[in-house]
């Protein structure tokens, strides 16, 4: 049985290898993957260098503050930078959108000649605000797999059953006492291998380019992650192959089958992730940053008022104990408020993502971002 299946798979494979779509898919995927590698090699060293410079600066600041505990407690640890992920060529993710640092600093006001404790500031500006260039786009593995590879998978499978039905060769095959499920499995295998050949070639070229350059060192962990990502790609392509076979089997004409598949592809791959995300994000809108800022100022003012009511605004503090209590409670209050706002903002992103999980593409993109480590 497995031999028969293998026969069918081989026939499919030979059919595909000689076809125009195979050549076109190879060219398309190779061009994309090579560009991806070249861009990464051009940009990544600069990014790493920028990180190292920034981190060195931050360490210097920290050292200068750590001469005594007081200046550390009031000044804070300074800027905390995110190390640029070596797997950014797989998925740019949030790294392309968010500033790469959060700062622990003190822009604080003083009370009774006493500086308050440092606090955390999370980045609030979207870099897009000053970007007048055309829409931001990425050319990472996630895009190549999510959009292009799924499209290719559909083009490889839309006529695999309906086409044979039209030509009459399916009847011929079935006349040879081969069970239908074997035919189906053989076709699945054939399509799977013929899609994976161009993709594997493209990925190999991409990885050869990246791993042989001196600009980046990929360690064992990174290779492990790459392996997992390839596994995800395989699952994702299998899904679209199965979908292609399903529609191809359900519809008698390959023209109709293609139209149906393209419509499914357009709605699930192109529109659903974006439309649903923008609907989902509406359900949990955090307050505007300015509003948040005003509320926070009011809280601080109230705490200050309370302190003044109690102890008066003398320039000499009443006692270390009383002042200490104020400083701690103020810092705690502030931190709680800050955290709550950050949580609100993150919740909006989470809500937007949760609803897009209907689309397999959105799930795959998310998995890519998570495994590439380019998530905030």
């Amino acid at each position: 049985m497995t031999i028969k299946m293998w026969h069918i798979a081989k026939r499919e494979l030979y059919d595909n290898l000689n076809s125009l779509r195979f050549a076109l898919a190879t060219v398309l995927l190779l061009a994309l993957m090579l560009t991806n590698a070249i861009l990464y090699l051009r940009e990544h060293p600069a990014r790493t260098q920028a990180y190292h410079n920034a981190a060195a600066g931050a360490i210097k600041t920290l050292e200068s503050r750590s001469t005594n505990l007081y200046s550390l407690a009031t000044g804070g640890p300074g800027d905390l930078h995110k190390f640029p992920s070596p797997l950014r060529f797989c998925a740019e993710g949030d790294e392309a959108f968010l500033p790469t640092r959060a700062s622990g600093a003190n822009y604080g006001r003083r009370i009774a000649n006493m500086t308050l404790v440092w606090r955390m500031f999370y980045p609030q500006e979207t870099p897009n605000l000053r970007n007048i260039r055309p829409d931001f786009t990425t050319l990472d593995w996630a895009f190549i797999v999510g959009y292009v590879l799924s499209f290719v998978a559909i083009l490889f499978t839309f006529d695999s059953i309906s086409g044979e039905l039209e030509r009459g060769t399916l009847r011929l095959t079935l006349a040879n006492a081969i069970p239908r499920h074997i035919v189906l499995a053989g076709k699945f295998l054939g399509a799977f291998i013929s899609i994976n050949i161009p993709f594997a070639i493209a990925v190999l070229m991409n990885l050869i380019l990246i791993s042989t350059s001196d600009a980046v060192q990929l360690n064992a962990e990174v290779w492990g992650r790459l392996g997992i990502l390839y596994g995800i790609v395989i699952l994702y392509t299998c899904l679209f192959i199965a979908l292609g076979l399903l529609v191809s089997a359900a519809v008698r004409e390959s023209g109709v089958s293609l139209v149906v598949l393209l419509l499914i592809w357009v709605s699930f791959v192109v529109f659903m992730p974006n439309t649903l995300a923008s609907i989902g994000s509406r359900t949990a809108v955090p307050i505007a940053y300015e509003e948040f800022w005003i509320q926070r100022m009011r809280l601080a003012d109230e705490a200050r008022e309370a302190y003044r009511d109690k102890y008066g605004d003398s320039q000499t503090p009443p006692s270390v104990h009383v002042l200490g209590e104020y400083v701690t409670s103020e810092a705690e209050e502030y931190e709680r408020f800050n955290e709550a706002y950050l949580k609100q903002q993150l919740a909006q992103g989470k809500r937007a993502r949760a609803i897009t999980r209907i689309s397999p593409t959105a799930i795959t993109l998310r998995l890519f971002v998570s495994f590439a480590g380019t998530v905030f």
């Binding site: 076809s19 125009l20 779509r21 076109l24 898919a25 398309l28 061009a31 994309l32 560009t35 861009l39 940009e43 959108f97 968010l98 609030q124 979207t126 897009n128 605000l129 000053r130 970007n131 007048i132 260039r133 055309p134 829409d135 931001f136 786009t137 990425t138 050319l139 895009f143 959009y147 292009v148 499209f151 083009l155 006529d159 023209g255 109709v256 293609l258 139209v259 149906v260 393209l262 419509l263 357009v266 709605s267 529109f271 992730p273 974006n274 439309t275 995300a277 923008s278 994000s281 509406r282 955090p286 307050i287 505007a288 940053y289 300015e290 903002q345 993150l346 909006q348 992103g349 937007a352």
Partner: protein, 501 residues
């Protein structure tokens, strides 16, 4: 004869599954997205209205002229529902002060702008057409000639005394009529939703703009249909034609725009031109600073203290904020006190004299710096962005996007219209200060003898440019699309005339 041909083609096309599917999916996508887009527009409008009110209230509460930084807001463009362009992305709130000529790079966002929410791209109606209708156009075209050749019906038709050009024309006209049905129907439904929404009021100009968008959409559709027809004319088999059409679609719509934008993604490191411009701007302000210090050193008040020892409930600051990426450098200072103690009465005239010198000097320096900055911003940031836009136009998608943005007024020029108006308004505000003699007055920094008067401050208003300006901006790309149509049709004609059946 040609009407018979058109009738036949029309029937052929209308009765197909792909027509029904195209119609259904376009209607569904457009209606669903329009509802979402209208909701989002309403939210933005609401946040704009609140912001305008807040800013109005804030300025009225400012006690001194020095503290009065007027803030103005950019209203959301209702046509951003069609093509969002830069309307949602760029800042929509900007401060106006005497010390800086404002540009879009200083604008902030007044609505909830969550950096942790990263939605890849915002969908608009034009994006749906861009993707779905171009796909449909190719699906209508790929078998138009190759299919008839395979079935042998083309030979049959040609046995009649029919001109080949007429066959092409009939095919083109009927397919375009079919493709127009989903386009126009979905647009009509979108318009229905738009016009029944209370918060959106479309002017006569807006209808003109939407008409322009429809025209551009037809030209775009036609380009893709003709690409499909060309493929169909040069290939012998429908299977080959289909594969070619699909891959060309993928390359033009999916791959090329992303590839080209990624390939020329520029780093954030300022160019040499920007660095030298920044230094020039800094020099201008340094010169200003020297003059200022010289004034302080030589005036009647001993020492160089810019606060003249005046102190009280309120604050004073001065600094030179800078941003090398957007070439921003300016002198920012404020001195504002609610109450002034009796003991400072002697210093007040000194401060008044100082500000009477300082503020006009700041205004003059800001204008000088602006002349350098304006040119440098054009040469660096704007040119870079425009290069990218030009490169995008190698795909019809890029032309279509640019033309519809220009119609909707959400392109860079449309957004910059607002900032031109803001710069104009800044001059009005400065004139207002002069008319109140604000710089020399005590009210510039102290509110103890009467507060600043904002009651007659002229209000800011912004009207989008007229439809003829939009048309002028959209015309180059529209003409490009039309030329491409003509060019493609000519090639198809030549190929089809010479081909054997």
């Amino acid at each position: 004869m040609i009407t018979t041909l058109i009738g036949r083609e029309l029937l052929n096309n209308l009765m197909t599954f792909r027509f029904a599917a195209a119609l259904l999916i376009t209607l569904l996508l457009v209606v669903a997205n329009t509802v979402v887009l209208i909701q989002h527009y309403e939210q933005r409008l609401e946040s704009y209205n609140t912001s305008v009110q807040t800013h109005h209230k804030e300025i009225q509460e400012k006690q001194t002229y020095s503290a009065g930084e007027v803030e103005v807001d950019r209203p959301p463009n209702p046509l951003s529902i069609f093509n969002v362009g830069l309307d949602k992305r760029l800042g929509n709130e900007i401060w106006i002060a005497h010390n800086n000529v404002p540009t879009l790079w200083e604008a902030r966002m007044n609505a909830s702008d969550n950096p942790y929410l990263n939605i890849l791209s915002s969908i608009d109606i034009i994006f749906i057409f861009e993707v779905v209708l171009s796909l449909m156009a190719l699906l209508f075209a790929y078998d138009a000639l190759a299919g008839e050749r395979e079935q042998g019906t083309l030979r049959l038709v040609l046995t009649h005394p029919v001109r080949r050009g007429h066959i092409l024309l009939a095919k083109y006209i009927s397919a375009m009529l079919c493709l127009l049905v989903p386009l126009l129907m979905s647009l009509l439904l979108a318009m229905l939703l738009l016009t029944t929404t209370v918060s959106i009021s479309l002017s006569a100009d807006d209808f003109g703009r939407i008409g322009g968008i429809v025209l551009t959409s037809i030209a775009y559709l036609s380009v893709f249909y003709l690409i499909g027809l060309l493929i169909s004319a040069v290939t012998q088999r429908t299977g080959t034609a289909l594969m070619l059409a699909m891959f060309i679609w993928g390359a033009l719509v999916l791959v090329y725009p992303n590839l080209i934008l990624a390939a020329i993604r520029s780093s954030d490191i300022p160019q040499a031109k920007a660095v030298s411009a920044f230094n020039q701007i800094k020099q201008v302000w340094d010169e200003f600073d020297r003059e200022r210090k010289q004034y302080l050193a030589t005036d009647a008040f001993p020492g160089e203290d810019p606060t003249f020892n005046i102190n009280g409930m309120g604050f004073f600051y001065e600094h030179f904020p800078e941003n090398r990426l957007t070439l921003l450098y300016l002198y920012n200072s404020m001195m504002t006190f609610g109450e002034l103690d009796e003991k400072f009465e002697r210093e007040v005239p000194h401060a008044q004299n100082y500000f009477q010198f300082l503020i006009p000097s700041t205004i003059k320096t800001a204008e000088r710096a602006w002349l350098i900055r304006k040119q440098a911003l054009e040469d660096t940031l704007v040119r870079k962005a425009n290069t990218k836009r030009t490169l995008l136009k190698f795909s019809p998608v890029g032309m279509y996007d640019a033309a519809t943005q220009a119609w909707a007024g959400t392109d860079l020029k449309g957004v910059r219209d607002f900032f031109d108006a803001v710069r104009q308004y800044r001059l009005t505000v400065i004139d207002y200060f002069y008319s109140k003699n604000a710089f020399a007055s005590r009210k510039w920094f102290a509110a103890d003898e009467g507060t600043a008067d904002w009651s007659t401050l002229p209000a800011f208003s912004f009207k989008r440019s007229g439809v003829e300006i939009n048309a002028k901006r959209a015309l180059p790309d529209l003409l490009l699309l039309l030329t491409m149509n003509l060019f493609l049709f000519m090639i198809i004609f030549l190929v089809f005339i010479k081909s054997e059946v």
